[in-house]
């Protein structure tokens, strides 16, 4: 995958809104044909960054390159990008077909060929035969499809999606996520998605850039981001993570020995210890990396005793909050509710299996 050529490159991009420093030195590359997400809380600059790719926002310093060309002097209408807007921006005074075919106005092809292209684009998004309908009478999901067809008909090098799913209800959103992934594989165009929904980003993306306050905090594939977040902030933003106070005992040749409260000592290789930021040392571990041991089971790696403080039943899963090893350290762990596995009660004494390989050290 890493041998794919670069489609978009950011070189130290800075952007100010008056006194406000919206983009603070963005660097990074988006590869051709990948599904890339810009993920972050609202106000982190992700939409601004997307708009600098589209050409709707200028930048104050640095450079944005698309397919190797500096875009500084290229206006939005001449860039090889098309955008799906958060509000979809369907032209309300036109029919669905006119909306989809809007970008073909300057196309030298004949009317019949253009009509065929519109029909194909509509078919691609599952709206075959909708061409004659009035655009303002469509439902949210249909508008989104029209917006997609309208952007894809020009066969752009990059498709930009600005929170395209945020206006849909949960079921529809999950359905469209899968459809978008399929569509992206089918057309092979580079997709750049802006979202604040970490689940959406994990589900859909090949790679994700997590942004906070105008900076990219981490740029990695979903699994790395989830299993090896490079900071506490990223770890907190993506999924759930337990944080346990720890001490660094020794550092020798890339191996770091730590003592975590309630868990005891463990030796971690360097890739589980991202660069320090001067914070109090903590280890993080995801709920699903901890397992309750039922009678007769033994831990494959390490185990620690605990007391159940809270039981949260979720249907397919049960979350347990457990005090570890007689300390005040409480962790949340999740257990799949397989048949024959009883739900334990609050106050039960349990053994919790864990593995040092699931730990990440933040400091």
């Amino acid at each position: 995958m890493s041998d794919k050529p670069t489609m978009i490159e950011f070189r130290d991009v800075h952007k100010y809104y008056g006194d406000y420093h919206a983009l603070r030195g963005i660097n990074g590359q988006i590869r051709a044909g990948e599904f890339f997400s810009l993920l972050g809380p609202s106000g982190c600059g992700k939409t601004t960054l997307l708009r600098t790719i589209a050409g709707f926002e200028g930048i104050d310093s640095g450079a944005v390159l698309i397919d190797g060309k500096d875009m500084a002097r290229v206006p939005a209408n001449e860039r090889p990008t098309n955008m799906v807007f958060q509000s979809y921006a369907i032209f309300p005074h036109m029919s669905v077909g006119e909306n989809v075919g809007f970008g073909l106005r300057r196309d030298p092809r004949s009317k019949a060929e253009k009509a065929k292209a519109v029909e194909e684009a509509l078919e691609m998004v599952g709206l075959k035969g909708y061409g004659g309908r009035a655009a303002h009478a469509l439902s949210g999901g249909q508008r989104q499809r029209v917006a997609l067809a309208r952007a894809l008909i020009l066969k752009p090098k990059v498709l930009l999606l600005d929170e395209p799913l945020s206006a849909l209800d949960k079921k529809m959103r999950e359905h469209m996520q899968v459809e978008l992934i399929k569509l992206q594989r089918q057309v092979g165009i580079t997709f750049v998605l802006v979202t604040h929904d970490q689940e959406e980003a994990l589900v859909m993306s090949d790679r994700i850039a997590v942004m906070f306050e105008g900076e990219i905090a981490q740029l990695a594939d979903p699994e790395t981001l989830y299993r090896r977040p490079n900071s506490k902030k990223v770890a907190e933003f993506i999924g759930t993570m337990n944080f346990i106070p720890a001490q660094v005992i020794s550092e020798t040749g890339g191996q770091i020995e730590i003592e975590a409260k309630g868990l005891g000592r463990a030796t971690l290789p360097a890739d589980q210890c991202p660069a320090g930021r001067g914070d109090a040392p903590m280890v993080g571990l995801r709920p699903e990396t901890l397992t309750l041991l039922y009678p007769g089971q033994t831990a494959t790696d390490r185990s620690v005793d605990g007391v159940i403080d809270e039981v949260i039943y979720f249907g397919d899963m049960t979350y347990y909050d457990v005090y570890l090893g007689g300390t005040d350290v409480e962790v949340r762990l999740s257990m799949r509710n397989t048949p024959g596995r009883p739900i334990l009660e609050v106050g039960s004494k349990v053994d919790v299996a864990w593995s040092p390989s699931a730990l990440v050290l933040f400091r």
Partner: protein, 197 residues
């Protein structure tokens, strides 16, 4: 005469769109709305006489543009504000330049606002008396003509009939204007944020 006015304020109010931040300028344009008409008429008269412009239909047109522009600006700015900015960006994104974006997207969407503003301004201008009376000079304008004819008792019934027609025409035009404004809002799917009726 009135048609020229309409063209002017239509274009003028539209320019508001190019500089959205100019609060002071808008305030200035809106000023005739709150000033008593007689003051506008008198001060215009004084200024025109001072710079030795002969009074004619053109000076009436000038005065009418001055008092109808606030109405046009009010109507058109609400039409422009209800326009989603991303619609323009979408057209731009799909390869259109600023001029064709204006023609293909913005103009059709604010057309109902433009029509209703034309009709309202026409009505106001038609019924306006004070400025017409002060600035017309030797030329005749409908409203001041009616006034002058009242001196002749024989003409009174005809003038009353004309007055009735004027009232009816005004009501019909205002209704049409409001109809277009509301239809425009419904078409773009926005919320009605008040009008003149």
């Amino acid at each position: 005469m009135i048609a020229t006015i309409l063209g002017i304020f239509g274009a003028r109010a539209s320019t508001r769109y190019s500089f959205p931040g100019k609060g002071g300028l808008i305030g200035l344009i809106m000023l005739p709305l709150v000033l008593p008409e007689i003051i506008v008429a008198l001060s215009l008269l004084v200024v025109l006489l001072a710079i030795a412009v002969p009074l004619s239909l053109y000076t009436v047109i000038l005065g009418h543009v001055l008092i109808t522009t606030p109405f046009a600006v009010a109507i058109l700015s609400s039409a422009f504000q209800s326009l989603d900015k991303s619609l323009e960006e979408a057209a731009y994104d799909l390869g259109e330049g600023p001029v064709s974006t204006f023609r293909l997207i913005i103009l059709p969407l604010v057309a109902p606002g433009i029509i209703s503003s034309l009709l309202i301004c026409f009505t106001i201008s038609l019924d306006e008396f004070i400025i017409a009376y002060f600035l017309a000079g030797a030329d005749t304008v409908l409203s001041s003509y009616i006034y002058s004819q009242f001196r002749f008792p024989a003409k009174v019934p005809a003038m009353l009939a004309l007055g009735t027609i004027l009232v009816l025409v005004s009501i019909v035009l205002l209704s049409i204007a409001e109809f277009f404004r509301r239809r425009g809002i419904a078409k773009t799917g926005g919320k009605d944020t008040g009008g003149f009726l």
